[in-house]
């Protein structure tokens, strides 16, 4: 074990995978030579360690980057490609949605696509809506794609290693706001299984599901709620597809209440799927309405005074929990 940042943990996963398996290579805009000289950046130092054969800087061509991943994975390689900012995935979406997600099915199971797409995401740094826009619901809505979203240093490594060695296409979302967060990290190869949520904080009165940065928003809401005598159970979802229904339903059946938190737009966001799933499968265990905490239906603004309106805060989580508790 050693103290590492979230960015180091991603780096560690990439390095571990590349050490283990020559079919693993990385590609993207600036994954070799970056504009940043910063050891917390996920691909820092990998060009020096693995060379230009396996660390491929690409032109600014998201369709070609994603096509590279689809075609190379169909040939048996394990590509790990990077999309620099989540909104730019729109430029890669034909290759991901129509090809990575569909070609195996349409081949009748003859072909497989063991590719990983690392997507840098997040709001809260004043970059505006063309660099900040969390589109996880789009991905989750497309058949044939898996999507995971680590919130801890340990999962940043464990989920990425699982994604790289998974036989199917996996999108791994990285909250850039977490890159400098520190935590204990095992040095060895270890895997966080895809499709397994984690009870981050046990509790009894209300289940709160969050992923990525939103997990910490949910955590900050705990103390004021405890002061009001309310005990929340926080689930770190980790994996949107596959979805760990068992973990969610067990918790909701225990608490009888659910609040979902994410930084994406609330309307048609992933929280809607969680709310609907719980309403269908655990309606009779619910003691109050399912509440969703998310962003308003606007593009991400630039001014910090406006961005604060966009990003859900702990007070929004507190309010949602109180509402479902009818307090």
């Amino acid at each position: 074990m050693s103290q590492k940042t979230f960015g180091n943990a991603i780096n560690d996963a990439l390095s571990t995978a590349m050490d283990m398996d020559d079919t693993v290579f990385i590609a993207g805009e600036g994954v070799g030579v970056s504009i940043h000289l910063d050891s917390n950046m996920p691909t820092y130092g990998l060009l020096d360690k693995f060379g230009r054969r396996r660390v491929k800087d690409t032109p600014v061509s998201e369709a070609a980057i994603a096509g590279l991943a689809v075609g190379a994975s169909c040939m048996g390689l394990r590509p790990v490609v990077e999309i620099m900012f989540f909104p730019f995935i729109t430029l890669a979406s034909d290759m991901l949605v129509n090809h990575a997600g569909k070609l195996r099915y349409m081949s009748g199971g003859k072909s497989s696509f063991p590719l990983t797409v690392r997507v840098k995401a997040g709001v809260g740094f004043g970059a505006g809506s063309q660099h900040s826009h969390n589109l996880e619901a789009w991905i989750a809505h497309s058949p044939g794609l898996k999507i995971v979203w680590p919130a801890t240093v340990e999962d940043a490594k464990g989920l990425l290693l699982s994604a790289i060695f998974d036989p199917d296409p996996v999108i791994v979302v990285e909250d850039m706001m977490l890159y400098r967060m520190k935590g204990e990290l095992p040095d060895r190869d270890f895997r966080t299984p895809l499709g397994k949520a984690r009870v981050a904080v046990p509790g009894t009165d209300c289940t709160v599901i969050a992923y990525g940065m939103a997990l910490y928003t949910a955590m900050k809401a705990l103390e004021p709620l405890i002061e009001k005598g309310i005990s929340c159970e926080v689930i770190d979802l980790r994996s949107l597809v596959p979805l760990d229904k068992t973990c969610i339903l067990e918790s909701v059946r225990k608490t009888g209440r659910l609040v979902v938190v994410h930084e994406a737009n609330r309307f048609c966001g992933f929280g809607a799927e969680l709310a609907a799933m719980v309403a269908e499968e655990a309606f009779h265990d619910l003691k109050g309405p399912v509440k969703r905490v998310g962003a308003p239906q606007i593009p991400v603004p630039v001014a910090s005074s406006l961005e604060k309106v966009f990003i859900p805060g702990p007070e929004d989580v507190v309010r949602a929990v109180l509402e479902t508790m009818n307090k």
Partner: protein
């Protein structure tokens, strides 16, 4: 290695392949006309047989094909099994892709026809990946990607040509210029009339060829494949041909000048080659008739095979999404 000298036996095999492709697709036309239960849109390459045959005959076994919505000829030239191919077009369980591809999304990795995309212009970025894998693993193969003049207008084709030019990937871009993108002429969808001239912009050789001359296509393919195989990078071939049957079988071709269609019918690659082989004394009329009858018999047998097979069981609709299935 392929011979540069074309032997009479090889000429006969080129002719035989073209005839098989034509007879196969003519059968599909007939099945459509009979209101036969062929699902989806049937998109045929009638008149373009010399491109598929000329290019694919120049490939080595390890070379990869990435195809598009007009793929039957590419696959048949590559040696696809007729029965399971026809069964797939009928969407039967015995089809090459278990009834999940149909006519448009065929993939036959067993003959290195790795992927087909019907998203126009998506083939080239997929080919980038396949060719990268060949380069990365120091395989000797080349990836050939077929696309049309219409697809050449897609941004993804530009990205793929640029990236493969930078990385010197072993890709042969084959642009089948059949004179039409939907109902639009090249002058309406391409700023340059000679699409192969764009190759210059990506630092790769670009040449055009009479796409209805199977030997000319074969020779240019050999030359450009050798270039790609030698590690020099990608190359671009534009084959000038004509789309005889419209975009698909639902196309009314009301926008096509009948005289133009008639003129191209006279340039039919199969009629031309038949005449050439007759004149050269390589085949006589009886032998040609026998080749045609043999192709018809094989196609008829494939239709019978497809007819006899079942449609996929409904529970297979839920399989093959992921390698490791899970409950969604």
């Amino acid at each position: 290695m392929k011979e540069k000298q074309i032997t009479p036996d090889f000429q006969v095999s080129l002719f035989t392949r073209m005839v098989l492709i034509r007879k196969f697709e003519e059968k599909i036309v007939a099945l459509c006309r009979e209101s036969y239960q062929l699902p989806g849109m049937q998109i045929l390459a009638n008149g373009q047989e010399a491109v598929a045959t000329g290019v694919v005959s120049a490939l080595e076994p390890e070379d990869i094909i990435v195809s598009n919505h007009r793929s039957h000829g590419h696959l048949l030239a590559r040696g696809a099994d007729l029965n399971s191919l026809m069964a797939e077009i009928m969407a039967k369980a015995d089809g090459v892709n278990c009834g999940k591809a149909g006519t448009l999304h065929l993939s036959m990795p067993e003959i290195n026809a790795l992927m087909t995309s019907t998203v126009v212009g998506a083939g080239p970025p997929l080919a980038v990946g396949a060719a990268f894998a060949q380069q990365y693993q120091a395989l000797n193969g080349v990836t050939v990607v077929f696309f049309g003049d219409g697809a050449a207008a897609e941004g993804s084709v530009h990205e793929a040509m640029n990236l493969s030019g930078i990385w010197k990937l072993p890709i042969l871009f084959v642009c089948e210029n059949n004179g039409w993108a939907g109902a639009q002429r090249p002058e309406e969808h391409s700023a340059v009339r000679q699409i192969h001239k764009r190759a210059q912009g990506y630092d790769m050789p670009g040449q055009s060829v009479d796409g209805n001359d199977v030997e000319a296509v074969y020779h240019l393919s050999l030359e450009l494949l050798e270039y790609c195989r030698s590690g020099k990078g990608p190359a671009f071939m534009e084959t000038l041909t004509y789309r005889m049957r419209g975009h698909g079988e639902q196309d009314h071709q009301h926008y096509v000048n009948p005289e133009e269609l008639e003129a191209w019918a006279l340039k039919c690659p199969i009629i031309r080659y038949r005449r050439a082989l007759l004149n050269a004394g390589i085949l006589d009329k009886a032998q040609i008739q026998s080749i045609e009858q043999d192709a018809e018999a094989r196609v008829a047998a494939a239709v019978a095979f497809g007819d006899a097979g079942p449609y996929p069981e409904s529970d297979t609709a839920l399989t093959d999404v992921f390698v490791q299935a899970f409950n969604a």
